[in-house]
């Protein structure tokens, strides 16, 4: 059987280095298989997160040969095997150990976004009616598995460390899912402008490129939200009309 060489980041918040491991490669293997095999056979204390091994839980995010990816969905045969394969933790978050980062910031950000607030039920049995076409977009956003790879590549967070000001693409998608939910009656536009600082996104689309769920983050979520914010706060005609209409 073929062997591959891995260079895996080992270390914690105080520092670390790449360590080299050789391991057997069997057909169909993904990077996560190799990492777990190394853990089981050579490095019992190698820390990494995983759960589903099928791209459904968003636990196993890492940077493989420099590209932010899910380890469980990255097939070995998609990587050049004449050079060592590097595996390192996400960069936009503080390191805990090896491949495990402290993503708790994401959980704190989510709590600050106003929760879902439905309109009163439509039907006498206490339920609502929604047609499929009206929820297709929201369902796209709700595919998010919270892998935080989009957060990892967004330069506002990764390079400029604006974690205190900017909520990042994941939570713009989350806010968009709430704002475009046909039943929702909450208003989050002011928060998006002032608290979430949606204006800091300059539409580089890096987030969309890495999303393993194929969510069109920038075009479908961020841009429409930006338009709504502009419409609400900067467009004089809408501002005038707003005096006469209630939010649906």
């Amino acid at each position: 059987m073929a062997k591959a060489t891995f260079k895996i980041w080992r270390g914690d918040s105080s520092g670390g280095e790449f360590k080299s491991y050789d391991t057997e490669i069997s057909p169909g293997m993904v990077v996560l298989d190799a990492v777990l095999q190394i853990q089981g056979e050579q490095a019992g204390d190698l820390a990494c997160r995983w759960n589903c091994k099928a791209g459904k839980c968003g636990s196993c995010s890492a940077e493989i040969n420099g590209n932010p990816k899910l380890m469980c969905m990255t097939r070995m045969n998609t990587l050049p095997q004449d050079a060592p394969i590097t595996v390192e933790p996400m960069k936009a978050f503080p390191l805990k150990k090896d491949l495990v980062t402290d993503v708790s910031w994401n959980y704190r950000v989510k709590e600050k976004i106003k929760k879902f607030k439905p309109r009163p039920p439509d039907a006498t049995d206490g339920t609502w009616r929604m047609v499929q076409e009206d929820i297709d977009r929201v369902q796209e956003f709700r595919k998010c598995i919270e892998c935080f790879l989009c957060q990892d590549v967004c330069h506002v967070l990764r390079d400029h460390h604006k974690h205190e000001e900017f909520i990042g693409p994941r939570f713009l998608v989350y806010a968009a899912a709430l704002e475009m939910h046909p039943l929702d009656t909450e208003d989050r536009l002011r928060d998006l402008k002032d608290e979430s600082n949606i204006g800091l996104c300059n539409i580089t689309k890096c987030c969309t490129k890495v999303c393993p769920e194929g969510i069109t983050i920038t075009d479908n979520a961020i841009i429409p939200l930006k338009e709504r914010v502009v419409g609400e706060f900067y467009d004089p005609i809408t501002r005038f009309l707003k005096l006469f209409r209630k939010k649906r």
């Binding site: 169909g28 298989d33 204390d45 997160r49 995983w50 759960n51 099928a54 959980y107 047609v131 709700r142």
Partner: protein
């Protein structure tokens, strides 16, 4: 002394943040008590996130003949009548409200043409009954509960593993845990504790379960003196991936068959037509034509044999493979691509209905399910057995301890119907939360036993004290291989007796495992501690499977291939005896009230 460890206090402590734990935590906090929620992974990553096909609830949105009575009788039939009928009744009655509640909390289910929640066909359900979102229903459910729960004031402790329940006399009064990052121990004092720790799949080699499925709740409850029930009943899901080897066991949702997918052997024969159990003959189609009409919504058609219960389908697949009619990699073919003969836009339809299956095969197996058949075979999926609970309150047999979700037993009997787990999590998660909160309101905190804590710490740190010792991963693999070979889909007395000896052997060796490196986020240490739970559940499964000398649902005995009416009247419980050993007992199933009996008779 106990004081060295950081201590947290909550009225109700919920262990596990899958669907059951989250729903329980929400309910308890709504009742006004303080709630702590502990989980081994990050919030939102529990097993529930992987559920695909849907949640069963008789809302009758697609077929108005459906109602709780039909759901109840389907569940009992699927469980071969050894279910806790009261749980099956409550589940069938309450599931629709629990699903609608999710919608009120923001879940976005697929819709019917008239704008209601769409329901799909699944094995063993008479009518289309599974509310779903494509094939990622579990994600929708866990995210909805998570996003609702974070605004409820629940204190969440992520990446914290409970290793013992703390007792004050006969009552559970808290839990002892370590946090993964630095291996620091934690004391959780609580007036009531709810276990919602999920399944045991990791006791087997081929499984759809994640690393978390090590039966912790089963084992914690057993250690604390609670009774386990029905441990012999394990569900081997008929369709796991078989190739490439690295993905072996990953689930292929039953939704594929619900959407018209058919099973074929290497000779191209649709073998499921060859063996239809007598009690399902009336409900099963005679011809492929009728089967297709059923999956496309013809109310007069009966379901295709591919949608028979999972235990049966899994055994038929094993039979085909054993008879030499399997695929090159030891499975059978599951074909959804064939529907292009029936509908014009088949590839788009498949991608829309089964998006994550499409991606899973494309990315992991280089296979396009819209043009080629998949290779599938059975995978260890779910345990029907678990902690014995009171149907109404989810109280275990130990005061102060409750259980809900996959780690609790009763509703499913000998075999679970697909889709009944997600709704079970909601129905009984809610009930557990409600009654645990009530218990907490009526009782004070108990005394923490510092001796118990010292003993647990000593045990937990042993893997670091060895100079030489075995690799914990190695023991885990050996156990998994053994359970797969000796206590798998087809069982015999002789093999299981060997398994019992094997488990005891591995238990001895597990005392001598060694962790590599230091205590910070150290998987070898975590695995070393998990072994205790895996060994406990493996022993319990084997003991119970030996005791049930018949075949029923998830238990198939080659040496007793028939169903035996006498065993249909009993369940088996397992409990710790005075010497700390496992004691198995036979309990007679309570007689069903006349009105439930009547329902079952009427439904045929």
């Amino acid at each position: 002394m106990a004081a060295e460890y950081q201590t947290f206090e909550h009225d109700v402590l919920v262990i596990g943040a899958g669907g059951a734990g989250l729903r329980a935590a929400i309910e308890a906090s709504t009742a006004g008590v303080s709630v702590g929620l502990v989980c081994k992974s990050l919030l939102g990553k529990a097993h529930t996130v992987m559920a695909e096909g849907g949640m069963a609830a008789a809302m009758a949105n697609v077929d108005d003949r459906d109602n709780w009575k039909v759901h109840f009788s389907d569940t009992m039939r699927g469980g071969q009548y050894v279910n806790n009928w009261r749980m099956a009744e409550l589940h069938a009655k309450e599931a629709p409200d629990r699903v609608r509640e999710l919608e009120a909390w923001g879940a976005v289910f697929d819709r019917t043409k008239d704008g209601r929640i769409l329901q799909r066909n699944f094995g063993g359900h008479k009518y289309p009954r599974l509310a779903h979102v494509g094939d990622r229903t579990g994600l929708e459910m866990i995210r909805t509960l998570q996003d609702h729960g974070i605004h409820q004031g629940i204190e969440v402790y992520m990446e914290v593993t409970v290793i013992a329940l703390l007792k004050d006399g006969d009552r559970v009064v808290g839990a002892f845990a370590y946090e993964r990052e630095h291996g620091r121990f934690r004391i959780f004092k609580a007036k009531a504790v709810i276990l919602a720790t999920g399944g045991i799949g990791r006791a087997y080699k081929i499984t759809s379960n994640s690393w978390e499925g090590t039966g912790d709740g089963h084992s914690l409850a057993f250690d604390a003196g609670a009774e386990l029930l029905d441990m012999e009943f394990i569900q081997f899901h008929p369709t796991g991936m078989v190739y490439p080897p690295s993905v072996r066991g990953i689930l292929v949702t039953e939704g594929v068959r619900g959407e018209g997918g058919i099973l074929k052997n290497s000779e191209g024969r649709r073998f499921m037509f060859d063996d239809i159990p007598a009690n399902y003959k009336d409900q099963t189609s005679d011809t492929p034509e009728e089967g297709w009409r059923y999956v496309t919504g013809d109310k007069n058609a009966r379901r295709p044999p591919e949608l028979l219960t999972r235990d049966h389908v899994a055994r038929c697949i094993v039979r085909e493979v054993k008879a030499g009619r399997g695929t090159p990699n030891g499975g059978v073919y599951l074909d959804i691509a064939w529907i292009k003969e029936k509908i014009s836009n088949a590839p788009e339809h498949i991608k829309k209905k089964l998006p994550s299956m499409y991606h899973q095969f494309k990315q992991l197996a280089d296979l396009d399910i819209t043009t080629e058949p998949m290779e599938v075979g059975p995978t260890t999926h779910y345990i029907m057995g678990g902690i014995r609970v009171d149907a109404d309150t989810q109280a275990s047999t130990v005061a102060g301890l409750f259980a809900a979700g996959e780690c609790a037993a009763g509703i499913n009997g000998a075999n679970r119907l697909g889709g009944n787990s997600l709704s079970d999590l909601l129905v009984f998660g809610k009930r557990a939360g409600e009654y645990a909160a009530k218990f907490a309101q009526e009782n004070d905190f108990g005394q923490i036993n510092s001796e118990q804590i010292e003993q647990t710490v000593k045990w937990a740190l042993e893997p670091f004290e060895k100079q030489t010792g075995e690799n914990p991963f190695e023991i885990q693999h050996e156990l998994q291989e053994m359970m797969q070979d000796l206590v798998g889909i087809v069982r015999t007395e002789d093999e299981m007796q060997r398994a019992l000896i094997g488990v005891r052997e591995l238990r001895k060796r597990s005392k001598n495992v060694k962790a590599t490196g230091n205590i910070d986020f150290n998987p070898s240490w975590h695995t070393a501690l998990d072994l205790h739970n895996l060994l406990n559940v493996s022993e319990a499964i084997t003991l119970a499977a030996i005791e049930r000398k018949e075949s029923r649902g998830g238990q198939f005995r080659d040496d007793y291939p028939a169903k035996d009416a006498e065993f249909g009247k009993v369940n088996f419980t397992i409990k710790k005896d005075a010497g700390g050993e496992m004691k198995i007992e036979r309990v007679t199933i309570l007689e069903m009230p006349a009105e439930l009996k009547q329902i079952i008779e009427e439904m045929g």
